[in-house]
C-alpha cells in the first residue's frame, strides 16, 4: 500500500489533508486529531463509514461534508456492517474486473464512538470481526455518549460523573469498571488490535498503517479526550492526553493474532492517577474526603493492569 512517510513530523506534514475544516466538532476536540492522522498516514483510496456520534453529526452537516473520500453513515450501530458490506462488494467487483481502476488500492475503515463500539454497536462489530473482513475499525473513546449530552457508557471509568451516573452526596459517580474492549477484540482472534493515543502521534500513525496493511479485521481503541464532557480547557487536549498515557490510565499497546502483546510506550516518569484525575472536572468530587478512597481504588486497578500487560508481554501470551 502507499503508506506515507512518518519518519518525522516534517515529512508527515507534506501530506495533503483529506479531512477538511469547518466541521462542527467542539474547539479542541481530539476526534478530529485522530481522524486526520488516519487520513494522512496513507495515500490509498479510503472507504469510510461512521457510526452516529459527535464525529458523524459534526462532519456531515447538510449541505456539507468534511470528507474527501467515500464516506457513509447509516445508523448508530452499523458502521462496521456498512463498511464490510462495501468491502465484500469491492472484492467481488474486482474479481469480475468491474471496477473503474481494478488495481487502485482501497482500504476500508469504520469509526465509532465508545457508546456505539462498547455498547450499542457491539454485536455488529463483533459480527464483522468474526466474519473476517479486511477492514480497520477505530473507536474514538471519549468514555461517554458525548453527542447526546454526556451519558455514561461501558467505557466510562469508575468515579467519573456523567449525566446518568451523577456524583453527589450519595454517589461518587460511575460504580462499574470500564469494559476491557481491547482484550475482547483480541479474543476474536483479530490479526491486529491496539490501544493508541494522539499525543504519541508517531506510535499512532505506525499503528494505523499496520492496521491498514494487515489483511483481515483490525481494531484500534484510541483515547479521545473530550473537553466538553471531561471538563477541561480546550487548549489542554494534548496535555490531558499526556496525563492519560503517563498515568497508565490508557496504556499504549498492541496485540497481534490474539496473543502477541507488545507495549508500545513506557512513560519515563509514571504519574499518579490522582494527578490525572485532578486535571478534569468530571473527577472533582473524588477529592472530597468521603470519596478519596475511590482514587486509591482506581490506582490499584491501574497498577494491576500494567503489571498484567508487562507479564503478558514477557511471557508472549
Amino acid at each position: 500500500m502507499a503508506i506515507t512517510s512518518i519518519k518525522n513530523l516534517k515529512e508527515f506534514s507534506t501530506n495533503n489533508d483529506r479531512f477538511e475544516g469547518a466541521h462542527t466538532l467542539c474547539p479542541g476536540c481530539a476526534h478530529s486529531m485522530i481522524v486526520r492522522e488516519l487520513m494522512n498516514c496513507t495515500d490509498d483510496n479510503l472507504v469510510v463509514a461512521a457510526n452516529t456520534g459527535c464525529l458523524e453529526v459534526s462532519t456531515a452537516v447538510y449541505p456539507f461534508t468534511s470528507w474527501d473520500t467515500s464516506w457513509i453513515h447509516i445508523g448508530f450501530e452499523n458502521a462496521a456492517t456498512a463498511v464490510t458490506g462495501a468491502e465484500v462488494m469491492h472484492k467481488v467487483r474486482k474479481k469480475k474486473g468491474r471496477l473503474k481502476d481494478n488495481d487502485a488500492p482501497v482500504k476500508f475503515v469504520a469509526f465509532g464512538g465508545d457508546g456505539s463500539t462498547f455498547d450499542i454497536g457491539f454485536q455488529w462489530l463483533s459480527g464483522a470481526m468474526e466474519r473476517g473482513h479486511d477492514f480497520t475499525y477505530i473507536c474514538l473513546d471519549n468514555e461517554n455518549y458525548a453527542n447526546t449530552g454526556g451519558q455514561r457508557s461501558s467505557a466510562t471509568p469508575v468515579g467519573a460523573t456523567t449525566s446518568t451516573s451523577v456524583a453527589g452526596t450519595h454517589s461518587y459517580g460511575k460504580k462499574e469498571k470500564k469494559k476491557d474492549i481491547v482484550s475482547i477484540m483480541a479474543a476474536h482472534g483479530a490479526p491486529y488490535v491496539a490501544q493508541l493515543a494522539p499525543n504519541k502521534w508517531k506510535i499512532m500513525a505506525k499503528g494505523f498503517q499496520k492496521a491498514l496493511e494487515t489483511e483481515g479485521p483490525c481494531f484500534i481503541n484510541t483515547v479521545s479526550p473530550c473537553c466538553t464532557e471531561w471538563k477541561f480547557d480546550p487548549k489542554d487536549t494534548i496535555g490531558i492526553t499526556d496525563l492519560s498515557t503517563d498515568s497508565l490510565m490508557f496504556p499504549i499497546y498492541e496485540i497481534i493474532d490474539g496473543h502477541e502483546l507488545n507495549i508500545l510506550y513506557r512513560p519515563k516518569n509514571v504519574i499518579s492517577v490522582e494527578e490525572y484525575m485532578a486535571s478534569q472536572g468530571r473527577y472533582k468530587h473524588l477529592f472530597k474526603p468521603q470519596y478519596r478512597h475511590i482514587i486509591e481504588q482506581v490506582q490499584k486497578d491501574v497498577d494491576a493492569k500494567w503489571d498484567l500487560l508487562q507479564r503478558r508481554e514477557e511471557a508472549r501470551i
Binding site: 513530523l9 508527515f12 475544516g21 462542527t24 481530539a30 478530529s32 486526520r36 449541505p63 456539507f64
Partner: protein, 156 residues
C-alpha cells in the same frame, strides 16, 4: 491580513449564506442523499494540495466557522522552527504547511482552540493568542521577549 494564496476558494461561506435560497430543506431531502466532495473526477486527490483541487460547494472546505472565534492565534514566522507540532495537532485542519514549512493559519477554519499555541515548543512561542479584532502587525510588534524559564504563555 495574511495573503497565502494556498486556498482553493475565496468566497468561503457563500453557500452557507445562500443555503436558505436554493437548497432543499431538511424535510424535502429524500432519504439517502449523496454529496460529492469534488466537482468532476476525484482520482488522485490524496496527492493534490488544496489549491490544486476542485472542491464542490458541498465540501466543508468551502464553508467557514470563523464566527466561532473570540480569540485567534497569530503566527510569528521569525521564531518558528517548522517542527510541525501545530500541524499534526490542529483539530480543524487550519495550519497551512507546504514543503515542510509552516506558512500560516487558515482563519476561515480556525476555531481559536489554542491547541497550536500550547504545543508550540519555541521560546518565546511562534504562535500566540490575540483578541479576534487585534491588528496582525500590531500583534507581531508586541511579541514578548525570550523567557528565562518556560512559564505559561500570557495572553496579550
Amino acid at each position: 491580513m495574511q495573503d497565502l494564496k494556498l486556498l482553493a476558494n475565496d468566497n468561503r461561506g457563500r453557500s452557507q449564506l445562500e443555503a436558505g435560497f436554493d437548497l432543499l430543506g431538511w424535510d424535502e431531502v429524500t432519504q439517502g442523499s449523496v454529496l460529492p466532495s469534488f466537482d468532476g473526477d476525484a482520482t488522485g486527490i490524496a496527492n493534490m494540495k488544496a489549491e490544486e483541487r476542485t472542491y464542490s460547494g458541498y465540501n466543508s472546505y468551502t464553508a467557514t466557522v470563523a464566527s466561532w472565534r473570540v480569540i485567534k492565534p497569530v503566527f510569528n514566522r521569525d521564531i518558528c522552527i517548522d517542527c510541525q507540532n501545530c500541524w499534526v495537532w490542529c483539530p480543524d485542519s487550519s495550519i497551512l504547511s507546504r514543503d515542510k514549512q509552516m506558512l500560516g493559519i487558515d482563519y476561515d477554519h480556525c476555531k481559536g482552540c489554542e491547541v497550536c499555541v500550547e504545543v508550540c515548543p519555541t521560546n518565546p512561542k511562534s504562535l500566540l493568542m490575540f483578541n479576534e479584532h487585534a491588528d496582525l502587525e500590531e500583534s507581531l510588534a508586541s511579541w514578548p521577549e525570550k523567557k528565562k524559564k518556560e512559564k505559561k504563555s500570557e495572553e496579550a
